[in-house]
């Protein structure tokens, strides 16, 4: 109550901030809409349910991994190990229900375990990442580089590099099943993204994640359990990578430790960045990540469907990523 005037001024200033926040989100959406428009005009058979189906099922794993990545990045970290963790999760599941680890007495139980155990395993590996980052104060990019290198090796050692081929309807429901006509993996993707979105917006944990990324020292001084928050986000990222690994192997009826999740870290990080979350931490925009992933998927689809040669496609992809990030950043500024 310094001066009456102060308050009066504060009250009369138009609240234009909102508009720009909206515009910031709009940037990525605009890129997304432009892509759709392009496809409607130029891509054969674009407007069909099957196209939607193809794109949504293909983007599901990216979104799931990128959701975890968004949280990690919000704390100012990064997780390069997600692709390798997908391989580990994907390698474990078939080993469980095919009885390579322990004898299977009841298939439903084995399938349930095949869902649960791999995710627990990758969550624990995520925890390991988190421990390196917190306990040993190793920089995230290097801490997770350890499992990026070793993780795939572990998956390969477990399977001896061999392809595991299987047919198991119960397990494959996660990728091939449909609920009310919607593919199960799409539903899973939506549920995970929605939970993360709500967590960031409405929970203490979400607030803490952002505070830790925004100013770690200050966060500690306000009583935020910085280490616990970080451990948790790396664990979540690991667990979600595991889930994505399950989907990929289920979709292919085969688990190939050499290739599952290869390059996923870059796709996920690109989705996060195109979605408007700063890689420096302190922000988390889950909706943005979702749209960012859709943009990346749509770019890929567009290039494929229009027969752009791979070499040229790389260049176009590069330009589009830059453009999308650029629009998205500009839109946030006056």
């Amino acid at each position: 109550m310094t001066t009456i005037e102060t308050q009066a001024t504060a009250g009369t200033v138009p609240s234009g901030k909102r508009f720009f926040t909206l515009a910031g989100r709009y940037g990525t959406v605009a890129a997304f809409l432009a892509l759709i428009l392009f496809n409607v005009l130029f891509t054969p058979n674009f407007l069909s349910l099957q196209t939607l189906n193809v794109n949504l099922t293909q983007v599901a794993t990216i979104v799931i991994v990128a959701t975890g990545m968004t949280l990690v990045i919000a704390t100012g970290g990064i997780d390069l190990s997600v692709g390798s963790l997908m391989a580990i999760g994907g390698a474990l599941a078939p080993m469980i229900f095919m009885g390579a680890l322990f004898p299977v007495s009841s298939m439903p139980v084995a399938v349930a375990l095949a869902f649960i155990l791999p995710v627990i395993a990758t969550a624990l590996l995520g925890l390991f990442n988190g421990l390196l980052v917190t306990r040993f104060a190793i920089q995230p990019i290097i801490a997770t580089l350890v499992l990026f290198i070793a993780g795939r090796g572990i998956a390969q050692v477990m399977t001896n590099g061999n392809l595991q081929v299987f047919r198991n309807e119960g397990f494959q429901f996660i990728a091939l099943g449909r609920i009310a006509g919607i593919p199960a993996q799409v539903i899973l993707m939506i549920v995970i993204a929605a939970i993360a979105w709500a967590a960031v917006r409405h929970t203490v944990f979400g607030r803490q994640v952002i505070a830790v990324g925004g100013n770690e020292k200050a966060a500690r001084l306000t009583g935020i359990p910085v280490h616990r928050v970080k451990l948790l986000v790396y664990m979540i990222s690991g667990a979600l990578a595991g889930v994505a690994g399950l989907i990929v192997v289920a979709r292919n009826s085969a688990s190939d430790a050499n290739l599952v999740g290869l390059g996923m870290e870059l796709d996920a990080i690109a989705a996060v960045a195109v979605g408007g979350t700063l890689l420096t931490g302190g922000r988390a925009n889950i909706m943005g990540t979702l749209i960012g992933a859709l943009v990346i998927q749509l770019v890929r689809y567009t290039l494929l469907a229009n027969g752009v040669p791979d070499a040229a496609a790389l260049i176009v992809k590069a330009a589009l990523i830059l453009l999308a990030v650029f629009i998205q950043q500009r839109a946030g500024k006056p």
Binding site: T2, V13, S15, K17, N215, L221, I224, G282
Partner: protein, 497 residues
Amino acid sequence: MLLSMHGICKSFNGIPALRSASLEVGEAEVMALVGQNGAGKSTLIKILTGAYRRDEGSIAFAGEDVSFNMPAESQARGIATIYQEINLAPQRSVAENIYLSREPRRFGLIDRRAMREGAVAVLRTFNLEIDVDQPVAHFSAATRQMVAIARAVTQKARLVIMDEPTSSLDEREVAILFETIRTLKRGGVSVVFIGHRLDELYRICDSVTIMRDGKTVATGAMAEMPKLALVRHMLGKELAAFEAIAKDADEGAQRPVRLSVENAGAGVRVRNVSLTVREGEISGLAGLLGSGRTETANLIFGADRLERGEIRYKGQARSYRQPAEAIADGIGLVSEDRKVDGIIPDMSIRENMTLALLPKLARSGIVDRARQDEIVASYIAALGIRCTSPDQPIKELSGGNQQKVLLGRWLCTDPKLLIVDEPTRGIDIGAKAEILRLLRRLADEGLGVLMISSELEELLAAADRVTVLSDGTSVAVLPRRELSEAALFAAMAHQVE
């Protein structure tokens, strides 16, 4: 005229920060630039140096119209600036920081010897004997401030701008700074001096420019501007006199002790500190820079680990390993360096303010938005925080308003013990009285306050009792009735052998 800025306008995100401000500085003139928090002083300076781009207006420097696109250009033209938030590269050494962007060279290579010797020499003129090869991050805010000043005065500039240079300095160092300013002036250099401590302004400045709400409302010779008139221009209204509001110490002597620190020590910075804070009192902690006050606060708060001695809170021995534990006990700490230890820059005012309150604000992990909004709105009003909306990122606030948000952060947790480390640093005179009054009111309601301050005036006005630290050791406890500037000085200068 060396500098004349006219009709400067600047908006951030469509919200005006400057509306036709002006500033004129003559040759060899020391110009005070004053105004409330958020009046636009720092913004005006940043426009001059080229850190921000102006929307409208004209700037003439040394007889020429200028328009700097980046600080490097204004620097090259002879404008040296000490920015409000100490602006140094923390990991670079002191010597490098002083000479960054104009390193002495030999054959195109950096002349390291010249650089080191030059740095030592200029710091010696500030009575500062430190290892100039150490990164500046190693030093306290005060030392860094002195390094920033040294950097500016060695630039052989025609105009030196100082944005609140004294906010973390003690009297001794302020005196050195003023001597430097006089030397500059004798050499024909002009100075723009921004500050909130009016007495200092009267001591050093020739003229004054007063800003309010982004406009220049008055200018004139310092000597012809009575304090009351100055404050009236600044605030746009009269200010009640800065009354002494402390109560008699004896009254509190029977109150229960909330916090007692006995022979506490950790590392080399805190050697042997004892102090008490009672329920309902404001206990002061005084000392020269580097006497270990901040470290003592960190120890109590669990930000650093206690190594020796004992800390008792409400009669029970406590040794917090994490601030979280202290917070759970009802302790709060408003830290000295708001940029590093305080604000989460990208977060909104709302979220910054309720960060420490979060655990209490949530039901099964979900934040109660309605209650949050209510609390935030009430503190924005109570503290007079100048912002466009609670959604505004805190980094967009002026320094003083950021400080108020941080104060609000702890007040809203309803603490039992509040440690405030330089609570009014960078806060304007109107708000300062308001904050001290607020602390007093809360103390009357039972809060124990431990107030660290370098401003004796402030301690004299607000504290019920002052513990004096010297070199990490508590050397005296002065009760209210023995408090005087002279007594404090004597105790602070005490040497521990």
